[in-house]
Assembly symmetry: C2
Homo-oligomer: 251 residues x 2
């Protein structure tokens, strides 16, 4: 009946296009738009330690990803020129840059870490993130100095996100933690074959994340950057993750 | 009777000298030794953003502190020369260097963040720290690449610390979380007058921390670095914190 049509739709059954139209946050809108247009809910985590290697890798996988995730504090030869090259590739291939800094300090310190120092993350990262362990001060302060953040778990995270939805676009999570259409659930530690490493990292497959656990975007690191043909493998991941999304929304 | 003498002594009623003798970890022994000899359980958090300002401040407050805490990622003009100058001051004034990085990622990433990048923290920091949110992998990995860590809360922290006591010297906490003599409880956010700031930071007094909540070491930032006479004020903090320790152990 008409009652059903009135029911608020669940994020996990909506298309990325619909969610981009529902989102108020401009970076979230842009990301949903890229995901729809490139048919990609794949982020690549490029954890290499030399600038030239990162730039080369990003240029190879760029056509297949919606987000490139960095850890600039592991780069041995970081300079402003690296940032400039990365930004040019973001424009060329149409992806967003996510600096995975996991800010975890009090607001005043995070303000300086995010906006200042050698890295000046606020100047170039479309997305960064914070642990919510220190409380909402971190997000309050970041929101006043720069772009936007994805929060990272704890039970208060969702409240903090909703209170700061002008600044928060989503969460790092292993399964969907909310059905608000505007928040993007991103799952790290993804490999086509699953499994684990010797340092406690557990891998999940794209289908486990996007279909079974209903998250939106998979973050793949060594599964792509550790192979000899990263461009072809990135495309495989893109196809697997996007098919899992299509399977989910057509249920 | 004899039964009482057999009872294991509580850390909070022991002297720093006794605890230094009880500790197996060499950095913990060294820190307890400095605390006893300098009559200082004061750490200063030097959150300035220019190398020269930090070096000048550390040289002023150095005589009164057992630990200098840094956030190198907020320094605008960080170079290896800054590290070299800081190390010379650590030798001159006999304090330990604590890089307050709050590592919070998976083991493989923390390994690179701690040992590599521009900062190479493992080469020069006597102490650093990690959030225990990502699980024990962080501590396992750091212990294989460098010096030692203080964990930061969550209910599993104590277990992780005891399982890795060769590498963990203590905790960042607002009140004593265990009576193991070898672990040092460090309390940040301390000001002589208490109070708060506009970004959610709450301050506690030295006596509240060391006497009432029975922690060992107070970490003071803007209360010392934000005044016109930091050397004299650092001495006031040192006297207040050490008197609170003496009051506690003489109970």
């Amino acid at each position: 009946g008409d009652g059903l049509a009135q029911r608020k739709q669940l994020a996990s059954s909506m298309t990325f296009k619909q969610r981009g139209e529902a989102a108020q946050n401009l970076v979230a809108r842009r990301l949903f738009n890229i995901m729809e247009n490139k048919q990609s809910n794949l982020a690549v985590s490029v954890d290499l330690t030399k600038s030239a290697d990162i730039i080369k890798m990003v240029d190879q996988v760029g056509p297949h990803v919606c987000v490139v995730k960095t850890h600039v504090d592991i780069i041995e030869d970081f300079t402003a020129d690296f940032v400039s090259k990365l930004q040019k590739l973001a424009e060329k291939h149409n992806f967003l840059i996510f600096e995975d800094r996991k800010y975890a300090d009090i607001g005043n310190t995070v303000c300086h870490q995010y906006g200042g120092g050698i890295y000046k993350v606020a100047d170039w990262a479309h997305i960064t993130n914070a642990h919510t362990v220190p409380g909402p001060g971190v997000v309050q302060e970041m929101s006043s100095s720069g772009n936007l953040a994805t929060g990272e778990y704890t039970k208060e995270t969702l409240k903090i996100a909703r209170d700061h939805s002008d600044f928060v676009i989503g969460f790092i999570c292993q399964s969907r933690i909310c059905e608000d259409p505007e928040f993007i659930c991103m799952t790290p530690g993804v490999k086509l074959e699953g499994g684990g490493d010797s340092l406690g990292q557990q891998y999940t497959t794209p289908r486990d994340a996007v279909f079974s656990r209903r998250t939106d975007l998979v973050i793949v690191g060594r599964g792509i950057t550790g192979v000899t043909n990263p461009e072809a493998v990135a495309n495989e991941y893109r196809l697997a993750a996007f098919a899992s999304y299509q399977e989910r929304i057509s249920q």
